[in-house]
Symmetry: C3
Subunit: 133 residues, 3 copies
């Protein structure tokens, strides 16, 4: 059994964070799938999908870390090379277990979209649930 849905959003610009945990939970619960795997996939090469605690201070720390590891500087690829490189490092997908018809994730595991491009973007996140009813 397969269920698929697209979550759409507009981001506000570089390093904007959008928590989509409730959307993903809703997709899983509406799917009727009781056990399986849920893939959350960002359709784009300049965004990240993060699974961690949605805490403002932690997200500030994460943004600082990203700027240190992949700094805003001149690269060969024009304009937004840092956006691509950060996306490669952070990844733009996460797979989550489904159990008893719900996401089987921890209390401090939120699914967040991290805009890494240098400007606001319209984003499509593909949620695919594979499993048994």
């Amino acid at each position: 059994m397969i269920h698929e849905e697209v979550i759409r959003m507009k981001t506000k610009g570089e390093l904007d964070v959008i928590d989509i945990t409730e959307d993903v939970k809703r997709v899983v619960e509406e799917s009727g799938i009781k056990r399986g795997i849920c893939l959350v996939f960002g359709k784009g090469s300049t965004l990240g999908i993060i699974l961690n605690e949605n805490d403002t201070m932690l997200l500030d720390d994460l943004k600082e870390l990203i700027k240190e590891l992949v700094p805003h500087k001149e690269y060969n690829h024009p304009v937004n090379a840092r956006s691509h490189l950060r996306s490669i490092l952070l990844r733009n997908q996460v797979s989550l277990p489904v159990k008893n018809g719900r996401l089987e994730i921890g209390t401090w595991q939120q699914v967040m979209v991290l805009e890494l491009d240098t400007r606001p973007r319209e984003r499509e996140i593909i949620v695919t649930v594979v499993g048994e009813s």
Copy 2:
């Protein structure tokens, strides 16, 4: 066909490594699933799941690298910010192919839980196998 099992363990503290390859192999073999995908998911935001060679010297190198990339210093998030940031960077899940009823992974690919929190923890690793018998 879906099979799901939880692997439980106590970790000894920061940067403790627990090799769960044999546990994951056993779950796959007991599942009766011959072909498919196995998701190994760490339920927590301060641990990592690593897929690589279980070699003491390499793990020492990895621990040094982690400390360099995400140093032990003051962050905005209290106490264990570095644990969360390291978990985001290393990820806490891995998906593995299943073929002929077994994990189809390389000789030097071991599945390891890396404790990133600043203290010993009880951990739950959710193993979900999706496929055909």
Copy 3:
């Protein structure tokens, strides 16, 4: 429904990049699976699987970044420690959504194998598609 295929290749040495997007697309289209998840898994602990834009300048930037984050220096593990560490950081797998019988990925999302070992290698990439026809 499950479909599995192995993509084989020879790499030319450290930091060689091989774009396998067309191979993965072909596997998905030949599978007959219309909706589901496709796992692209590198069988080895010294390679990376990248999902991003196949642009020469961006790949040059990526190679520079990798050398900065995990430098070529003396490690405890002999010979190719940097290859393993880079593989851990970049990951050697990616999960992709399948929709309408095709990979549902963005225009600038290419699947690329990144050789991280210090010498040419023969590589096996396991492609597993799980879903419904």
